[in-house]
Symmetry: C4
Subunit: 200 residues, 4 copies
């Protein structure tokens, strides 16, 4: 089964989710910089969520760039991933209502969505390896010793647990976790550059 | 006539419809889990509609993956399908107003949109076979004994009829109907894998 | 200059415009069919605008399918076309405020947007022919005797003029005009089918 | 690393940003042309922002058309560019609240977003040249004597400084600056036409 439409669909969903979040930043009540300062929470959560979704998109881009085949199961896992990512406008808006990131329930919900997305991610990587085979590009790049998805699940789970006591910790720990994903997999990069050379 | 722009357009429409539905989930009034529980209806209908649209997208993806030619009529049928699918944010929002899925009119409207979408789907499949010919991939895969679109129309019609007496039945019966479509057509899969082998 | 990104961008814009219009259909005040009847104006204008945008998209699809080169001027004309089409959610919403399509200003504005879009369309077709040459596919298909864009400008202008006296006429005359565009250009179809044969 | 998904993602983000801005144009309070005149500020800022985003998109289109390789750094710079562009619906809405473009804070914020976007643009161009090499298409086209990005940063900075005293100047100076970018780089055009000839 081809992968291009899944990529296109994923691009569209993530782009829309990122962009409609901006609708939640309401114009300040006054036309002053004090007014702008008054919506600093809105701007912060928007920047944070935009960053998180960027990380997911960039890594999705990299992951699928070395994939040749997808299965019906992969498509559904991807769809469930999109489902969880689509909650960002909602959780971001709810976090704001709590005021200054101190309310427990919205922060924990925000963190739980990330935890669930990470679990689906790990399942999807495994499935992609199984479908493409251990000798495929993805099989070789992200084989047996590839633990990052599991570390990320662990950190996201930790974020939720610590968040029960210190809500703000959700953003701190999840933020750290996403920093791990900023630099695209070196292994994927290498595989891709080799391919690139052959293509040129 | 090429099919790629129709696919791209369909991807965009379905992605947007899925994603703007999340704008209808308003943040709970309180920053507590009780508040979250209070919007369980919003979350349920969002999950259900997201699932329904996922099924349409995945099957659209599969259907068009074995199509070579499209006609002006197919493009218009696809457009009408998009028109009905675009009603999901509206019908989902209206269902919520009725409260706990007990109001008749919104549920029946929700079910009618699905019924109409299914009718268009069946017409589109027939047209695609006619345009591509009986000896084409789609002609062979979804030929004379392919009754699933008609069964789905029947079930969606049943959902509306039963829904007159028990509104909630619309979701139950349509939900069952969409379960039939979760696993992509085996016949299409087989055809595609054969092609894939030749491509690799 | 390649045309694929212009197509992709156009697809995205039109898909979003079509879909966000649905946000203007507010759920009826009551959960009854009477409530649904109460928003018939919303539903009608949505269906009409969706139809109009479908016609623009389908004809854009056809037009660009026979284009090989685009110029900077074509890109800007296309952008201006997108600008006018992006007004549909606004003009559709305003028409509704007037009540039962009887107010003059909103209807005339709605019609003026269509008139302007048609003028840009005609300019774009001319430019595409100039850029691709008279011996190109588009030059041969839509050459000297191709008057449809001008007839459409005339009809859209007529719609605005008559609309000054009978606002509803805007929809009637523009509706008729768009019917002319439902069937994609036969000449384009023929050209495309010839190409298709060579591709297969 | 391939560039097509970055292009597709950028197309989607810019298309959505442009289009959701129209949601900020609220229907006039009365169904008269006087009512339409009453929202002239909304319409003006929409047209201006649509124009600005068009310029960014068209130049992005041109820039990437001569790019062969992208790096992880380029992807992140592009993402940050998208982040700043996504603020247009917000800054456009805030500018409106100030009334007749006379308030300082919203105008300066609007201008600052453009300034930041221009800085990222310049960094991205430099990185693309470094990644693709000085002998690549982009290296030859936009080499050592290519000062336009820096001139644009200077003008955007000037717009913000003058804006402190005359808020409206932000639009005047930035408007002038974007006029420089209306005509796509001649150098890119030439490179592309040469390529085109080889492709045909």
């Amino acid at each position: 089964m081809g992968k291009s439409r899944i990529e296109a669909f994923t691009d569209a969903i993530i782009a829309i989710v990122m962009t409609i979040m901006v609708l939640e930043i309401h114009a300040p009540e006054t036309s002053t910089f004090k007014g702008l300062w008054g919506i600093r929470d809105s701007l912060s959560i928007y920047a944070f969520s935009f960053f998180v979704l960027s990380v997911y998109w960039i890594n999705h881009h990299h992951l699928f760039s070395i994939v040749h085949k997808v299965s019906g199961r992969v498509i559904w896992l991807n769809m469930i991933l999109m489902f969880f990512l689509s909650f960002f406008p909602f959780t971001s808006a709810w976090v704001l209502e709590g005021g200054h990131f101190a309310a427990k329930a919205p922060e924990l919900t925000y963190g739980t969505v990330i935890l669930l997305a990470n679990i689906i991610w790990a399942l999807m990587v495994q499935d992609l390896i199984r479908v493409n085979g251990k000798q495929s590009l993805i099989g070789k790049s992200l084989g047996a010793d590839y633990n990052k998805p599991f570390i990320s699940i662990g950190m996201a789970a930790l974020a939720v647990v610590i968040g029960i006591y210190v809500p703000l910790a959700v953003f701190a720990i999840d933020g750290l976790m996403f920093l791990l994903w900023i630099v695209p997999e070196k292994r994927i990069e290498r595989t891709l550059q080799n391919n690139k050379k052959e293509d040129d």
